[in-house]
Symmetry: C2
Subunit: 228 residues, 2 copies
């Protein structure tokens, strides 16, 4: 296994030019090679020039990134997975996805998880469990590293119904549930656009479910008495 924390050598970032402002900012980055030649690369970010510059410096220094958003894999008390269908304007389509949202300034991850769950689904983290009702993956993951630096922290969470969704203006979201045994058929027959994190976490559940069943069978083998 190659596991290194040192910073590898790479072209030097010598300029960051903002070419479009808005909810999505677009930048042109200029890099300089060892031979002195420069070249440019486009990127997008929700961060403004100052924050994006700071982030790129942090990244180059090898500092772990702070997640921009959380994505929640919500498991209901009946062991079903809680999913959403959300109208996504950049796609002009309803998409299958997991509850997710940007982390507000000063908010803890747990606060973001509970707020987004409540806003989008009317659920919250379960309050009847001993210990935490959620598990964070060890780090956040970058959505599309060829285009930008959006990174999202996945949380696997045990949730319960607590009220009605509180959708923002222009937010179009429906919830639905999938039992563990329905996940495979859903993935094989779904034709709606689906988010990457939702798709891959459901695929993991499908495959784990197959092994869980085989394990249960192996641990409870039929005996001669089963045919008696």
């Amino acid at each position: 296994m190659t596991q290194e924390n040192e910073t590898r050598k790479h072209p030097k970032l010598v300029a960051i030019q903002q070419v479009s402002e808005g909810w999505i900012n677009k930048y042109v980055l200029t890099y300089e090679k060892d031979n002195g030649e420069t070249f440019t690369y486009e990127s997008v970010s929700r961060k403004n020039l100052e924050d994006y510059t700071e982030q790129l410096e942090r990244n180059a220094a090898g500092l772990p990134p702070k997640p921009d958003a959380v994505c929640i894999y919500p498991i209901l008390p009946n062991d079903s997975i809680l999913l959403i269908r959300e109208f996504r304007y950049p796609l002009n389509a309803w998409c299958v996805a997991l509850p997710a949202g940007l982390i507000d300034e000063g908010e803890s991850l747990e606060e973001t998880i509970n707020r987004e769950l409540m806003e989008e689904t009317g659920c919250r983290l379960r309050t009847d469990l001993e210990g935490p009702a959620y598990q964070l993956l060890p780090q956040s993951g970058f959505s599309s590293t060829g285009m930008g630096e959006e990174n999202v922290q996945v949380a696997i969470a045990y949730v319960e119904k607590a009220g009605e969704p509180q959708l923002g203006e222009n937010e179009l979201i429906e919830t639905f549930e999938l039992s563990r045994d329905e996940i495979g058929r859903f993935l094989d027959t779904n034709t709606s656009p689906i988010g990457t994190r939702c798709q891959l976490l459901l695929e993991a559940s499908r495959r784990l479910q197959v092994l869980r069943k085989r394990l249960a069978l192996a641990q409870n083998p039929l005996t001669k008495n089963d045919f008696a």
Copy 2:
């Protein structure tokens, strides 16, 4: 399970304005609500105005999206996973990721898989297997539906070494391998930025590996003779 292919009602897309051109195009979409009010939403795409417009019409009609790119989860003959570290300009950092790349015009998915494997890692799909050396997930997944329509087809692939990587100019990529038993420790200790698909597929492998081991134990229980 709610599984429907019909198109749900949603605000009507009435205008698409391109506000920035380049390798990344930025758009402002204008939607009209039932009450006649309009509002705008920003998005980004690698597609030009004509192709993006066509894609949004296809999406609204419920037609399944054509993937923009493939992402390969490569399994080596020794059952290790083949990963890459790639310098990602939009992040100013080396990232842990899976071999991946855009599908060229007229290229089949299998051709893209073999081309990207060869370019980035010097590997190709195994040629010693009966039947296909790769499995496609049932559909492609959208990377970041709040920002754009990039969608990526994941392929789980059995690969073999076939030559040396053929990196493009300004492409900085190293390969490394993880055995199944190293995946958990890698995920728990890695501090480099990591791509979402890579992270979630490795997490799935980690959890499947735990169950596989338990299954092997259950199917091969210790007997009194083991202590003889």
